[in-house]
């Protein structure tokens, strides 16, 4: 299927044409932009640099029921799944993050909850034309218009979007809305490509990751970990807002005579995360936790799955309350190697 044009004026019709599908898109909630299920009257908010909360919560919700039961019983009822939907307006970096996390949720044992959402949804990207200050996707093999993990890519051409289906799933979705779409001209395609290139050139920050995965564990006792973690508050911003962070906790919750076992995001920056029942903590201070976070992303994940678990979206830098800057850490790592 060739590229097509979606006029911005027809956005409402487009959403309607997709039918009863669940459609997730960025929505303004106060000052905060995050992905949520579109209501009937809602229009996707597509004029943004990036969302505060990454779209990972569409496929890996912050809290998710694994199964429900009655107290005293032995029957476990899993939530009904299998619904199909679409996610619109994902930045290419966040989409890449999903394809990176896919390998974690499908290695050895498949995680049915994650994978079902991943295959049930169609992911429509929105090329990034104005990278933020702290974007560094190009350093990690990504690009402002990367297509990895996406089923279609949209590019903003001022009064319209150029829509390029990338997979069968993407094509199928857009066929439903064929009436509202127009054919794209060669000029449209060319101008989109030009914008993509310009955007890539605008990415201001970078780091050379060459050698980091292999050498990082060698810096185990380096002073740099103390320096970078001195100011760390031990909060969960960097991990909760990270599109590739995937750690979770499992808890039982009981209400009256009914209960559920559910999982929720957890963060390696919390002390409780590794605390043993005996009171012993293998990562007793923020120094060890910071070191583990960086090592996990830049070394352990590479060992296990062959790719760095960071896409350079810059959220952890943007939102860290005390200016712990992963690029700064990586630069120090490079110097120390």
């Amino acid at each position: 299927m060739d590229s097509m044009i979606l006029s911005k004026e027809k956005m409402k019709d487009f959403v309607a044409a997709l039918g009863q599908q669940k459609l997730y898109a960025p929505q303004k909630e106060g000052e905060t932009l995050r992905f949520s299920l579109l209501g009937e009257e809602d229009v996707p908010e597509l004029d943004f640099s990036n969302t505060t909360v990454p779209p990972k919560d569409v496929v890996f919700p912050q809290t998710e029921t694994l199964y429900q039961y009655e107290l005293g019983g032995t029957d476990m009822k899993e939530p009904e799944g299998g619904e199909e939907g679409a996610v619109m307006g994902i930045r290419p970096c966040d989409a890449r993050a999903m394809s990176i996390v896919d390998s974690l949720f499908s290695w050895d044992v498949d995680d049915p909850y994650y994978l079902e959402r991943r295959s049930g949804n169609t992911f429509i990207g929105l090329a990034c034309l104005e990278p933020c200050v702290n974007c560094f996707c190009t350093s990690l093999g990504g690009a402002p218009a990367s297509t990895e993990g996406l089923d279609a890519l949209m590019t903003d051409l001022e009064d319209k979007y150029l829509v390029k289906p990338l997979t069968e799933k993407g094509e199928k979705l857009f066929q439903k809305a064929a009436d509202v779409l127009e054919k794209a001209t060669e000029e449209d395609v060319a101008s989109a490509e030009k914008l993509h290139e310009e955007a890539a050139a605008k990415v201001a920050r970078n780091v050379d990751t060459q050698g980091i995965p292999e050498k990082l564990p060698e810096l185990w006792e380096a002073d740099l970990w103390k320096d970078v973690s001195n100011s760390c508050l031990g909060c969960g911003i960097c991990t909760y807002l990270c599109p590739t962070c995937h750690c979770f906790d499992i808890q039982d919750e009981v209400e009256g005579f009914e209960g559920r076992r559910c999982r929720m995001w957890d963060s390696c920056m919390f002390g409780e995360y590794t605390l043993h029942a005996s009171g012993h903590n293998p990562r007793p201070s923020r120094r060890e936790r910071t070191r583990n976070r960086i090592n996990h992303k830049y070394s352990y994940y590479v060992d296990k799955f062959g790719t760095i678990a960071c896409v350079g979206c810059g959220r952890c830098i943007d939102f860290c309350p005390v200016n712990i800057d992963i690029l700064n850490i990586l630069t120090q790592v490079k110097e120390a190697l």
Binding site: T63, T65, Q68, P79, E255, G256, E258, R260, C262
Partner: protein
């Protein structure tokens, strides 16, 4: 739904005054509504204001904390601390959008069986007026 709505009240009573007062009401065969779920605590000062939050979360439509009159506390000063805490928690709950009618505190001594009846009826009546609590009630919609 012709059935009348009956509010569910969780009451924390101090062992020495209010619980004894409620007991007196019982032994004196005073009739009053049965909407109360009583939790006996040693002192109103033991009631963590988060208990109230928790009660509301888990299905209470109103909360009552009752202790000894000022100066009569079995532990000398427990109810004074409770008074400060609940004055603040009340303001906070009201500010976040919980009707003030749902959150009550009373002084009932061991000899005030009749006052106990009045307090209970007032609390239940107030809660009935504002209807079921659903602001931050835990519910399975999220499940």
């Amino acid at each position: 739904m012709s059935e009348q709505y009956e509010p569910n009240i969780v009451a924390f009573l101090c062992n020495w005054c209010s619980y004894a007062g409620a007991d007196l009401a019982g032994t004196s065969r005073v009739h009053y509504t049965s909407n109360l779920n009583v939790i006996r605590v040693m002192c109103s000062g033991r009631v963590n204001p988060l208990f109230a939050v928790n009660a509301l979360q888990q299905g209470a439509d109103g909360v009552l904390v009752s202790g000894c009159h000022p100066g009569d506390c079995h532990y000398m000063e427990g109810n004074y601390y409770a008074r400060r805490r609940f004055a603040l928690m009340r303001e906070l709950l009201e500010f976040i959008g919980v009707e003030p009618e749902r959150f009550n505190m009373s002084w009932v001594s061991a000899s005030e069986g009749a006052k106990w009846k009045d307090v209970v009826e007032e609390v239940v009546e107030k809660a009935r007026k504002v209807g079921p609590f659903d602001q931050f009630r835990r519910n399975k919609i999220n499940w």
